[in-house]
Symmetry: C2
Subunit: 304 residues, 2 copies
């Protein structure tokens, strides 16, 4: 079984959406990614939690056979994000961010993780992303996500790490910002020339754009009639994407990248159907396969 | 050759986008629709222009063999819209609307038009849309577009005409407003139960959603690296959509509706590449076919 390393946030989120309110619900990019990717391969988590982190929340990852050796538990409180979604829910409004133990996070990669061939650097400080990558031994596929905050505050570190990754997975708004253009197609092409072999732009309810080998591949999201909470959809997408590729034994084609994106779309469509990890933690292969069939109907087109 | 009747605006637009400014450029839904649909079938236009309408602008439609018998020329000035696009250009900001001769527009359908089997009621007062439909003799396929203004001011008339049409083609924001929900998928399903056999939601750079027979069909737009001016893209889409269906000889399948949407996507992708009708008027079949091949690459996915 292949191994995927993920470094990212482990958090408690308080989220308000038009559907309701979830207080201190389990969240963080590393959690969404791990639960999604563990459907495909063994996941090694690197992150930090505080003393308040609940045993039942560790239990979730353990039940997915995720390795927690790299998940430090230190004095203080777990990272906390509070946000609100309104209207079409395409953008979160951050109400509060308490970094807590995340503020002094120093990612140390356990020896047992260092040979993980698949590495996903979720949205954290690009300098920490680089430190993680420095500790890895010959990774086969490295992916990276980032956000506006780092584009504004650490653009040089971000560009340096970008040149070292294979796949950039990024939100549409952040892709435009990083590439300094309002046109997503132009942005994707520019990002593709900053180092990554492939760029995947996550467009929320509009799906994704994959750019690789100077070509575009674009598909919509799975149509969800009631989006309860979009938090974590992007990290879930990344988990499905990496999970799928981790089964390719170290080599993959453009078609594999396309299939990986489709897995990302399917898994993310579950995440948005409930608050936090509510839906994703219940996901099994039978559900993914059923939704795959439905999605194929949605995007199937007749030839002329 | 089949015949398509369109009633809509004929206008001079002044448009500002990040790419520049076009002053009193030819526009209006009936012009975009007619130029697009005339690639497929004979088009009969119903509309009104003022004394200031230039002969060369009439010449454009004449050169496409579009019938102008229903295009009234009356005392006064042609309808004028002034708008601006910013940022991602997904929404126009209206700076000024001068209805001029359009204010007292009374659409009279010439006898030679009355048997047109395909009827497109572009975005005008829903009461006028009803008057046009009343004058038609057994149309086979009736399509309708509308906008926020009519949803706010004439919702009852709009719902009455909706129950009489086959296809609703509408912008995403307006679909959500008309269906009173922020979720587009839910909106489309609700609109599908208001009368039309099919609903097509136009999502600008994100493509479209087709809903018919309780099923969703969703595809992205053609990736355009430099959008110069999105004005008229929706009406161009409608022209391609109706144009394609008008060649089906009065019966069509779900696959034909899908193909019609794809024609809409392709034609609209040209319209946005220049101000006004600049690109669309130069369009020929060779270009459409080339873009069709490119689009098929963009949306092609491997089976698992």
């Amino acid at each position: 079984m292949s191994e995927i390393l993920v470094v990212g946030s482990v958090a408690y989120d308080s989220i308000t959406t038009p559907s309701g309110y979830a207080e201190f619900t389990l969240g963080g990019s590393a959690n969404y990614f791990s639960v999604a990717a563990s459907l495909y391969s063994h996941v090694n988590v690197v992150g930090v939690v505080g003393e308040d982190y609940k045993d039942e929340d560790l239990q979730l990852l353990k039940s997915r056979d995720v390795s927690l050796e790299g998940l430090q538990q230190v004095a203080g409180k777990t990272f906390h994000w509070e946000g609100r979604y309104e209207g079409d829910m395409n953008d979160a409004i951050t109400l509060e961010t308490q970094l807590n133990v995340f503020e002094k996070f120093n990612p140390v990669i356990p020896d047992s993780y260092k040979k993980s061939p698949y590495v996903f650097l979720a949205n954290i400080d690009p300098e920490l992303q680089a430190e993680v990558l420095d500790q890895m031994e010959e990774p086969k596929l490295v992916g990276l996500d980032t956000m506006n905050f780092w584009i504004d505050s650490k653009i040089d570190s971000l560009k340096a790490i970008l040149a070292r990754v294979d796949v950039l997975l990024i939100n549409e708004g952040e892709a435009r910002k990083l590439a300094d253009t309002h046109n997503t197609i132009q942005a994707v092409a520019r990002l593709g020339h900053m180092g990554p072999k492939a760029v995947v732009v996550k467009r929320g309810e509009y799906g994704f754009v994959l750019y690789t080998d100077e070509k575009f591949f674009i598909l919509p999201a799975f149509p969800v009639r009631q989006v309860i909470d979009p938090t974590g959809a992007g990290d879930t997408f990344a988990g499905g994407f990496f999970g799928y590729l981790s089964k390719m034994n170290g080599s993959w084609s453009v078609d594999d990248l396309k299939r990986a994106c489709i897995q990302g779309v399917l898994l993310a469509s579950y995440t948005v159907e409930d608050f936090g990890l509510g839906r994703l933690r219940q996901l099994d292969w039978a559900k993914v396969e059923k939704r795959f069939e439905e999605y194929m109907q949605v995007i199937s087109y007749p030839h002329l």
